[in-house]
Symmetry: C2
Subunit: 297 residues, 2 copies
């Protein structure tokens, strides 16, 4: 194993209630997406030395019986391994599918991305920008906000840790909001709902604000805006859309190679760091994709 990916959705797998995958049981290997290199193989499609990704779990060596669970990953000169789990991995695919198939921003429309400094949000915002939309990112802290506008060329950023974040959101969306790429939920989503335009689209991708709560928090008070504004909301899980991976890679891989689209990653070294590192997702200390690199990598 080279790299293990840490994602907000991992948290849901630890609850007793099944979500879109069965819960991880006590004593079982923690489920996670990983990137590894084949060291021994009885399958010709996956020869020794081939890079592969898949649900390899928190382990240093993975034995995979069912090769259909693996995706071969090309070694591309100039593209770091980490990008294959970042902008070119499942979180990149999530961002691309959500925007391309659900949000469908038109040039000049306003797209708001929450958790915009995260693995999905940072790619979603950059793709929306490439589609000609006005892109507003919501993130925690002035440093992340500066990164969004300066490095990723978002049109504006809203710091949800600032006391005046609601005012910042209003100022950043003078023409309302046409697409909400929703990763967070809670009061931030509620404020976004209050600014949705007629026929807005809500790409319901994640609700990280609630993943650590014992009970779901109250729902969005501005829910009726979905009716009045004739909003189209679509919940989606990337696992349903893996058939879109070729089209995604055809568009996004060249953008990453040419650095038109940046793959942000936070890489922590050491297998033993996994249980601590995952908390970074929930206190917001990671930027972009959070990865743990194994010592032998």
């Amino acid at each position: 194993m080279e790299l293990i990916s840490l994602d907000p959705t991992n948290r849901g797998w630890l609850n007793e209630t099944p979500t879109y995958l069965p819960p991880v049981g006590i004593g079982e290997v923690m489920r996670a997406v990983g990137l590894g290199r084949v060291v021994a193989s009885k399958n010709l499609r996956y020869p020794e030395g081939q890079l592969v990704s898949g649900l390899l779990g928190w382990q240093e060596w993975a034995v995979i019986d069912d090769a259909t669970m693996l995706l071969p990953v090309p070694d591309v000169p100039g593209v770091p391994l980490t990008a294959h789990l970042g902008a070119l991995g499942t979180t990149g695919l999530t961002a691309w599918v959500g925007l391309t198939d659900i949000g469908r921003p038109q040039p000049g429309e306003t797209v708001v991305v929450s958790a915009a400094g995260g693995a999905v949000g940072s790619v979603a915002g950059q793709i929306a920008k490439l589609r000609g939309a006005r892109v507003v990112g919501i993130a925690g802290g002035s440093q992340k906000c500066a990164l969004l506008t300066d490095q990723l060329h978002f049109d504006a950023a809203v710091d949800h840790r600032a006391a005046d974040w609601r005012h910042q959101l209003e100022k950043a969306t003078p023409d309302g909001i046409d697409v909400d790429f929703e990763n967070v939920g809670g009061e931030i989503m509620d404020a976004v709902f209050g600014r949705l335009n007629l026929r807005a689209r809500v790409v319901l991708c994640g609700l990280i604000s609630a993943y650590n709560d014992a009970e779901w928090p109250p729902g969005p008070t501005n829910f009726p805006a979905l009716l009045v504004q004739r909003v189209h909301l679509q919940g989606f899980i990337v696992l349903d859309h893996l058939d879109r991976a070729p089209a995604f890679l055809a568009e996004v891989a060249p953008l990453v190679h040419s650095a038109q689209l940046q793959s942000l990653e936070t890489v922590i070294d050491g297998f033993e760091e996994l249980p601590t590192a995952i908390n970074m997702l929930f206190d917001g200390t990671n930027v972009g994709k959070l990865l743990v690199r194994l010592a032998h990598a």
Copy 2:
């Protein structure tokens, strides 16, 4: 004027906040759909004696300058005038569009309709039944529930005034819920959200439970089900879908003529009854379409 239609959505037009139409100002004629007969005309398309419907308002005689605001209504032997504002009117169109274009129930799927004894719900449930779905209606009181199952042939009814309504809902939807035709909102919608199946559709048509509140109530606690179950939710207002009227009438008018689809109506006599009658929508004393018939009709 022959008949004036009273609809839950009228309530929203009385708030100061614009919804999908501007608020009705103090001193203005109350806005409402009505059915009348032309008594004098300078427009050849609307000769004397022609039945017309449109936003004619709370008045005994309406002067309409812009004929594009009117729809001609055919006099059909055997079809009572009231049906033209009921199953064949805008509420019937609302039910048909919501099911045909958004909910799209497949044979054997479970459709839940809230406010199922109302003008929209009673038609929505009957159409879902004709499409081969298992149909569960939610209504207030055992009498309305009996009407749904006995007269309209719903598969089951849930009495939301009964203490055990949540249990009734569970029992009535053993295979979960594939389509929520949502007219009510609040805790009833929340309970339905908790039982949505994978790739369920929410036809967000109305939220009557909140229309009389000064502030919106808390949103749905089960909102995250929309993500986990990959739900498609679409808010819609029938005014956006008037182009679907011909297809709607082509299917539903024969069904009403042949009594395969029943147009339920509560008719109150007397123009002066309008301000009292509209309250019936909110205490649930009407069944089907609520209409006020003018004395000269």
